[in-house]
């Protein structure tokens, strides 16, 4: 009897904690998003975070894109050449990059580079009581710290994805056309005939959602790092916030990608 009681109690407690946490994240991120548009607009701070999230990610995103495109060209060539249809290589590379790999891999790279550092940065501010100091000075910490980051992430992710797509197609061109000898005209005309406006639209709507998820969850974890796990405080809490936000965001990006694709098709 006591066993059943304790098991049910455990299950119930877990559910309540999860739902509460989800609600907190939702309120936190919606609140922060609304604060982007309230006066005074912190455009200067948005630009600073655009530099950090956007500009500084260009190199790593391009590098990932280039090699992803190259390996797509290579794998696609060996699969398609079995059917004698190497002419489809261009459209295979371009469609898989624009529809799926571009948005998702960009989001994952930005999560690893910017998401982790956002969580660590805000977490460190929390444990060193800088956030409380902001509160004391009547500066809304959500407005000051979180809102610009969310805005910058939402703005920069579509741009990074567009860069990823084009660099990836260039990588596919290098491996498919220059190294394996597919006809360049057929490669590019295949891309132009197969890629439709819907593909590109879908590929650029997804990053908006990913950017929101990356910034809001990493900010939330950092902001509340003292309450993530009972008994974990200080520097340990910061490290927990950093790792857990990267893991959670990566999973959410992949799940959200499936849901968005199902809606957009």
């Amino acid at each position: 009897m006591t066993f059943i009681h304790s098991t049910l109690g455990h299950l119930g407690r877990g559910t309540i904690t999860t739902v509460r946490e989800l609600g907190r994240v939702a309120i936190f991120s919606c609140h922060a998003t609304l604060l982007i548009f309230t006066y005074p607009l912190k455009l200067r701070r948005i630009v600073e975070h655009l530099y950090f999230i956007g500009v500084k990610s260009v190199l790593v995103v391009s590098l990932t894109a280039f090699f992803t495109g190259m390996v797509l060209g290579l794998q696609g060539y060996y699969t398609l050449s079995k059917f004698g249809s190497e002419g489809l290589l261009g459209s295979a590379v371009a469609l898989s990059l624009i529809r799926e790999l571009g948005p998702v891999l960009t989001a994952l790279m930005v999560t690893g580079r910017a998401g982790s550092s956002i969580a660590a940065n805000i977490g460190a501010m929390r444990i060193s009581e800088q956030i409380d100091a902001l509160d004391t000075m009547d500066i809304n910490p959500t407005k000051f710290l979180v809102a610009p980051r969310i805005a910058a992430a939402i703005i920069s992710l579509p741009f990074l994805t567009a860069i990823f797509d084009l660099v990836g197609i260039f990588g596919g061109y290098i491996s498919g056309v220059i190294m394996l000898g597919v006809n360049p005209g057929i490669f590019f005309s295949g891309i132009e005939t197969s890629v439709g406006f819907n593909d590109i639209f879908g590929g650029l709507v997804k990053p908006l959602f990913f950017g929101f998820v990356i910034a809001s969850i990493s900010c939330y974890r950092g902001f509340n790092c003292n309450h993530l796990k009972p008994g974990v405080k200080g520097s340990e809490a910061v490290s927990l916030a950093t790792t857990s936000s990267v893991v959670i965001i990566s999973v959410i990006v992949l799940v959200l990608d499936y849901i968005l694709t199902a809606f957009l098709i």
């Binding site: 655009l50 260009v58 741009f159 567009a162 084009l166 890629v195 439709g196 406006f197 593909d199 590109i200």
Partner: protein, 149 residues
Amino acid sequence: MKKKSTEILVGIFVLVGLICIAYMTIKLGRLDIIESDSYTVIAKFESISGIKKGANVEIAGILVGRVTKTYLDMEDQVAVIEMSIGNEVKLGDDVIASVKSTGLIGDRYINLTPGGSEDFLQNGDSITETEASVDLMELISKYAFGAVE
């Protein structure tokens, strides 16, 4: 000075991103900015199997337009397609439209064979001479089992 260089870098980043998006939507996505300089003709086919919205319309292998709509005419039990043809292409009213495909498993497209007529089709006119798509499987089965008389 530090702030200025940050802003310049962000500006370059946004500009590059915008150029990439614009290039993709216009060049790859075929977003036709100027949509109006074309006219629409319709054609009725016995079968248009494989033709979808957006399929190419070609004359002598040159792209001259796209299929904009396909639907079923319940009265005559035939398939109807609407295609938009660029204004610079004049079609005589004896033009023949046929469903062709590029290679065995390739995409289907509409091929227009111009005739000699001096009367040109206007917006909304219909092409009377059409050739339905060839069903390869049917041809093979006719060859293998003999046609049903």
